[in-house]
Structure formats: structure tokens, C-alpha cells
Symmetry: C2
Subunit: 245 residues, 2 copies
């Protein structure tokens, strides 16, 4: 039995899995337990699509930037922000739903993410491991066609789950607590802490590559945000009917 | 020692707290453990502002729709999506960050929510309870002024934490698993399940109000989405520098 704090502390992204299957009962236990996460005004504005069809898996792996573990993981989920269900329920009541502000979009994203983190931790507490797949947003239109998503359902991220192979990846140190946790007002001057963190990350890579990789967190961020990311996303969100006003 | 699944299953929103304080060490343990949550490309695009100043608490309680527990809870956090830190780090490297697509905004929201759910569960596993405060988005501009948030930092939601009083609220049943968990494609016809769920919610309220409250989930959703919500949010997001393109 692992405690909550230990489960969190042991987290690493797992991309390599044993072939050992995961049962339907395990999945239902994970997902139904995760549903107890908080949800804004009880809207529960999310759905999971579990992809068991191998052809669809292959397509999604490709659309996610050729991430082979999307095809190979014992379990692959696509987490979707979902206002469609609510709209249907309201229609059935003979009323109209007004989803007209970005607030409605934000609520569905936050609800989905809180729920997803419960899924991840529940799975980890049962000996599984996994990784979030943001690459599912690379080609959201194609993903939606594969999964037959109606209007007001948006694929936010994927998740691979399975029993990890014996070699667990090492953990990367997080940002210093002092830049994450502020008191009463936002502390803008974080330069010393960031420099200290950059040095820690440099050491991490140096030790693990026999000195071949010299990198810093700041440097990684500079490369990552060099140009615009996922430019097709905005059009997709609007086309899918989520309000941005 | 409580397991992860038990902690999730026992979740309820706690709004009434004992006066028993929570130590700095407890808070640091909760937050630093929660930081091990997954983060997209290691960006860690979030900050917490812990509000200890009573005057600020009073203001935030008011801005959140006069939620008295925001003022009274032993601990109150504001969770912020944060691209400011990354921008500063990149600037210091002599480079420019391009935050130009809605993808950058989504990543910071999802990162923040995954981290926040870890905070909630970590706290719950230590005997605390809490509630998310979406009301922090009612008047985001005023909240940002109270907390002195720079550009590229956005208050997403608050969280009250403390030791629950002895009376724990009852839990509301979640949507049937069959409408949350789909296989291979989105199942659009959820009408039977929603009707069954509506009946369960009706029973829940009838039993707990001696028959005075007759309600359904669909009916609650219809009232909730009757008109536009938080109309000032879009302008605030743009003003704060988060890209929506």
C-alpha cells in the first residue's frame, strides 16, 4: 500500500511498458474513482475515449508526432473537454444552452485536467505508470475524425498507461518552491532562483550524458518558445463550437 | 495511512473548517510534493499565491461572490497560470519568447490544474479538506490587482484548505461511467443514462430535504447555462497578455 505523497513523489513519465494487459475491471476502477474529483458546479464536462482499435491507435500515434508508445501502450486514453453532453441534456429538457463565453471553455478544460490527474494517480497507485500526450493537439481535426467527436467535444491530451518495464526513468528536479509559492503578492524577481535551478539542470544532464549534454532550464524554454506552436488549434476550437469570446 | 483510491473516494468539497492552524512545514510538504505532477515539456507554467493578509482575504472573498470561507479558511491559495516566469528566464538568456497561439494558454491552464489536483489530494491525505473557488474568475482584474500579478500571470481558481469540522457534507453521485468512458469513438446517444442519472439526483435531493427540493442534473445544467457567464474574462485574458490566436 503506497501513500498519496509517495505515489506523487514516485511519479515519472513512463513510455515503455510490459506486455502485461490491464483488465477492464482495473480501468473501470481507475476511471470511476477518478470521477470523484471536484467539478465546477457539478458539470463534469469531460469524456475519455479509450482507443482499443489498433488501426486507430496507429493513426493517433502518427498524428501525435509519431510517438510509438501511443500505438504500443497497453492502454491509450484521449481526454476530451466535453460540453456536448450538457447541451444534449438541456435540449432534452426543452431548453437552450448558452455557451457563449470563454469561461465555458475554461471550465471544461479545468474539469478535464483535474479528473485526468486523478486517473494518473489512481493508475500509479495500482502499480501502473503512464505519460500524458500533448501531441494529441498537433492535428486536432484529424484526431476528432478518428474518434468521431461531435461539436463541443475537444481532444485535450492523451494518456498511455501500462505496467512499466523495469528500467524507470530518473526524475528531474522541479523549480525551487520559492518561485512557485508566493505570499500575498506575486514576487517578480526570481532571477537568483532561476539561475540556481539552471545550474541544477545542467548538472543533471551532465551527469546523465557523461558530459555530452550541456543545457539549462532557461535554455530549454528559449528553444521551446522560439516560434508559434500548434497554429491550427484556434481554428479547430472555434469550428468545434467552443466559445472564445 | 490512507490509500490513493480511498483518498479520492472520500473527496467532498469542504467549506467549514476547524480553527486548528496548518503549519508552514505542512504547506511546503504539500506544494513541493505536488510539483512532481506532469508538466508539458517541463514548462511548470504555474504559481500559487498563498494569501495570509486578512485584508486581502476579505477583498478576495468579496470578489469571489462573497464566499465567507475564502476569508475564514486556515489556508487560502490562488492558483495562477504563469508564463511570466518563462518569459523572464528567456529574456535573461538574451532571447525573445514567442507566446502567440492559444496553445501557450492551454498548456499553462492544464499544467496548473494537474498540479492543483495534486495539491488537493496531498492535503486530503494529510487529514485536511478543501474546496476549489472558481469564483476567483468573477472579477479577475480586481483579483490581479490585489495579488500584484504581472502580465502573463492569470488567476485560474482559488483553493481553501483546513481541517474539516466534524460534519462532513454528503457526496453526490457522479455521472454513470458509461457516458464518461467511451471506446474507439464518441457515443452520442447518452439519453437513457442521463435520464437514469437525473432520477438518482432527484432522489438524492428529495431524501436530503424531506421532499422540498425536486431537481435533476439536466435541470441544474439548464439553469446554470441560461445566459453568458463571466463576460469580462475574455478581455482580461487578452489584457494580461495570454494569446488566444
Amino acid at each position: 500500500m503506497t501513500t498519496v505523497l509517495d505515489t506523487m513523489r514516485n511519479h515519472r513519465s513512463i513510455r515503455s511498458f510490459q506486455e502485461k494487459p490491464i483488465s477492464k475491471e482495473q480501468i473501470e476502477r481507475i476511471v470511476s474513482t477518478a470521477q470523484m474529483a471536484s467539478t465546477s458546479n457539478f458539470v463534469q464536462a469531460y469524456s475519455i475515449i479509450q482507443v482499443t482499435d489498433q488501426e486507430k491507435r496507429k493513426q493517433l500515434a502518427h498524428f501525435s508526432g509519431d510517438q510509438i508508445y501511443v500505438e504500443q501502450a497497453p492502454v491509450f486514453f484521449v481526454f476530451c473537454a466535453d460540453l456536448y453532453r450538457i447541451q444534449q441534456a438541456i435540449h432534452h429538457n426543452g431548453k437552450e444552452a448558452e455557451f457563449s463565453t470563454i469561461e465555458n471553455f475554461l471550465v471544461s478544460i479545468i474539469d478535464t485536467a483535474l479528473f485526468a490527474q486523478n486517473v494518473m494517480l489512481a493508475a500509479e497507485s495500482m502499480g501502473l505508470g503512464g505519460v500524458y500526450i500533448g501531441g494529441i493537439r498537433n492535428q486536432p481535426q484529424q484526431v476528432s475524425e478518428v474518434l468521431q467527436l461531435p461539436q463541443l467535444v475537444m481532444p485535450l491530451f492523451g494518456m498511455c498507461l501500462g505496467y512499466p518495464t523495469e528500467h524507470l526513468p530518473e526524475q528531474k528536479q522541479r523549480l525551487p518552491l520559492s518561485v512557485i509559492l508566493h505570499e500575498n503578492e506575486y514576487q517578480r524577481d526570481q532571477q537568483n532562483e532561476i539561475e540556481q535551478y539552471d545550474r541544477a539542470i545542467t548538472e543533471y544532464y551532465r551527469d546523465r550524458t557523461n558530459g555530452r549534454r550541456a543545457d539549462t532550464w532557461s535554455g530549454m524554454m528559449a528553444r521551446l518558445f522560439l516560434g508559434p506552436q500548434r497554429k491550427s488549434l484556434r481554428d479547430f476550437i472555434e469550428k468545434q463550437g467552443f466559445p472564445l469570446d
